[in-house]
Amino acid sequence: MANTSWYTVGKPEQRIDAVEKSTGKVRYIGDYSAPGLMHAKLVKSTQAHAKIISVDTTEAWKMPGVRAIITGEMFPYHIGPILADRPPLAFEKVRYYGEPVAIIVADHEYQAKRATEKVKVEYEPLPIVNSAQQAFQKNAPLVHENAAQYTKIISDVYPKASTNIGSHIKIRKGDFDVAWANSEETITATYSFNLSDHVAMETRSTRVEINPAGKVIVHSCSQSPFTIKKVLNQFFNIDVGNILVHIPMVGGAFGGKGTVQLEPLAYLASKAVGGKLVKLEFDREEDMTTAPCRIGFDATVQLGVTKEGKLVAGKYTYLIDSGAYTDQAAGITRAAALDCTGPYNIPNVWCDSYCMYTNHPFATSFRGYGHPELTFAVERTMDQLAEKLQIDPLQFRIINGIKPGDTTPTQAVLTANNIGDLEKCINRAKELIKWDEGQCIKSGKNKVRTKGISTFWKTSTTATNAQAGAIIIFEADGSVNLNCAAIELGQGTKTILGQILAEKLGMDMNKIHVTMEVNTQYDPHQWRTVASSTTFLAGRAVVFAADHAIAQLKKTAAVVLQCSPDDLEVGGGRVYIKPDPTFGVDIKDIALGYTYPSGHSIEGQIVGIGKHIQRHLTPMDQQTGFGKPGPWWSVGVQAVEIELDTRDFTYSILTGVTVLDGGTIINPMTATQQMRGGMYMGLSYATSEKFVFDEHGIVKNSNLREYPMLRYGEQPTEYLVDFIESPAIDGPFGARGIGEYGVIGAPACLANSLSIATGMELNKLPLTPESIWQRKVEGTI
């Protein structure tokens, strides 16, 4: 539905990073080495919960090449993005297996590693909190003795003294109790799944040096360069202006590189060796356990409905396993609450969303920010309720689908502008998955093919002052440099921003040079590259920067062409008179100002600046949740068709459908990439992925041999992707966010299809043949 009058928006412009990436010449963070570079390695906890009795570094100091050893008591403070509850290096006690306990800096990496093996840590084991449910029980051992005393960095976090509750977010809309009592049909269902991991192919890594002038220079593969500055300022007392963060292209992130963990450690390491450049790189095992992972989730969903299938009451209890520290899990707890219902209009909503401390590796944001999890719980319940009501599950969703004029759980009012069109998405997905040909077909001996569907929604929960900026600088040849702090993680953001600029200037993409790397010293502030917010925030900044530059172009050209700026248009590398496009001036001739034959010059270089800050977002009320958490909600539908062997419960995924209303699609191919890749990620998670803990809270599968993911050939045989484009008036060219969405509905639609295929309610993830078999065994007992 691309507007045909657009020049490049809506067209599949080639990604600007693809050629370089294909040659292997892109320098990711770990591809840098230099003589004199020092290496840091971590000593990590071998226990999930224990008192640290002593850390003996005597033998480690004797190892060749060792230059510094840093232990927890050297920096006995807590840091964190939402609640400051995490010591960068454990002191007094350890709270998860793999937690950093000491840092060793040495000349060579192997020397540092060898020395870590010589550090003797004496532990006194403490009782383990091994699940969110256990954490929630009265008299459970405490992971944090004084959670309520920690400093709040962001207001919406409510740790509870003498419990394992790191935060508790409430939604109270309407009167749930009355509505529940009056419901003609009800359902209560519970769900649970374990923590898991991002497994970006590039592990986290950083380099830090402190130059003699006191400037701290950080290189990292982070999604949050300005948060690194904030953290180093807040907790290490370094002036913000003295911290410079550089981010090269990033080898996948999925939310896992949004948190700030390695950089403070590398800063401490560099400081300990007189400011020398120190590299700290996680190997895969550390990246899986020491670094933050994905939340675990326990949910109870209660829905009350009229006979006609109209939802009237919804109650949601979410226990989020945040592991040892709240990190972004506290934010996910909030995000899961404010979108708790899924994209349905329910007048009476009650939600308690708890962020639970356990002795698991700590969790942070993961693509979807809690929504794949809550969507699983909601959409499984919707299917079960539809069955009870004997209504077609699609029809049931259409009846209750949220629309302009309805309000969200936090009572934010929806308009045609800030919410996509769910019904259109459902109908399109229905066509693509061929729903009408049957939801369950016997396809051979012991074989059955079934279809499952899931709707989803998500707002972009940014800080209320989240913002982005862009600077565009014209070159003497009329081409343009675009600098902004949006980070290229693989999502194609730099291409999209380039396209937005090309559209505004009516210029070819090859005339737009987008700086791929980010440097906080010369890129304007950008909140973070998370929450599917970049196209919206940075995109708007680019639009403003382009307008700013266009005004300058017209001003200079107006002098040259002896007319009013209002008479002029910019496009095709020229500024020209509207009524007579042949009369104009090339941008290259005015890019650095215009010089008359006499040598006299005017105006100077065209430099456009633009910025955008979120409007009218508010925190949530502590008692009711009331507030406006995000600028818009993208909605969508996913569906799969699977084929199950009913004898041994092995199955394959035949078709995966994603239909998203993300407003205008700037680049249909990068958007399609995001949908397919997202769906893959959601399906891999749902079929295979979870951390396995033993009774001591130790992760048993922290490598890719034993942490299985879908490989080539195990993805759906085909992915069908389509977009409904209800424009968002305030988005750049009508775009909303899309980055996370492809992942959200995948686990739910898979479970729905498998539940039909097996005739059992499958409410746990992952759905391995073993877990389905297990369900069967339990069901027959």
Partner: protein, 170 residues
């Protein structure tokens, strides 16, 4: 004795992308770390160092090999080709054309493996393709685009995928 190395370090010659390179290594250094840190060939990526992901794939003797699963001292005298030696491969171009690249971290390993696959099996069926490509993990794309890359080159009699490779030393 072919090689007798009574110490823990060695000076060796590696035949990489058609050039013979002298390099000092610890016997414990993997081919991956040697290529990356000693020879500046950072196209092979370090991701799992456990043979599970394929990000580090290079050709040894024309066969795809996880360079994290070889010691540098094991592969002296063998021709080695890295992504840097395959810049002319049509596979590389097809990865760009078919949108098979997102973050790009898995890309070099995939291209090297796909190149070897098409060299060895220009008419591979889906079973062979799957067998080979299961050695590489991509966390971004969902594999459909990579499948399209292979299908666009299969049976195309693409003469630019040569049986030889530039790994033999001068």
């Amino acid at each position: 004795m072919n090689r007798h190395n009574g110490t823990s370090k060695a000076f060796i010659h590696l035949h990489v992308n058609g050039e013979t390179k002298e390099v000092g290594v610890r016997n414990a250094d993997t081919l991956l770390s040697t290529l990356r840190e000693k020879l500046g060939l950072t196209g092979a990526k370090r991701s799992c160092e456990n043979g599970d992901c394929g990000a580090c794939t290079v050709l040894v003797n024309g066969e795809p090999s996880h360079s994290c699963l070889s010691l540098a001292v094991e592969v002296v005298n063998l021709p080695i080709t890295t992504i840097e030696g395959l810049l002319d491969s049509p596979v590389r171009e097809a990865f760009v054309d078919k949108w098979a690249i997102q973050c790009g971290f898995c890309t070099p390993g995939f291209i090297v493996n796909c190149h070897a696959l098409l060299t060895n099996h220009p008419d591979a069926n889906e079973e062979i393709v799957e067998e080979w490509l299961q050695s590489n993990i991509c966390r971004c794309t969902g594999y459909q685009e990579i499948k399209e890359v292979i299908h666009s080159l299969l049976g195309s009699n693409n003469h630019s995928i040569k049986k030889t490779h530039p790994g033999l030393s001068k």
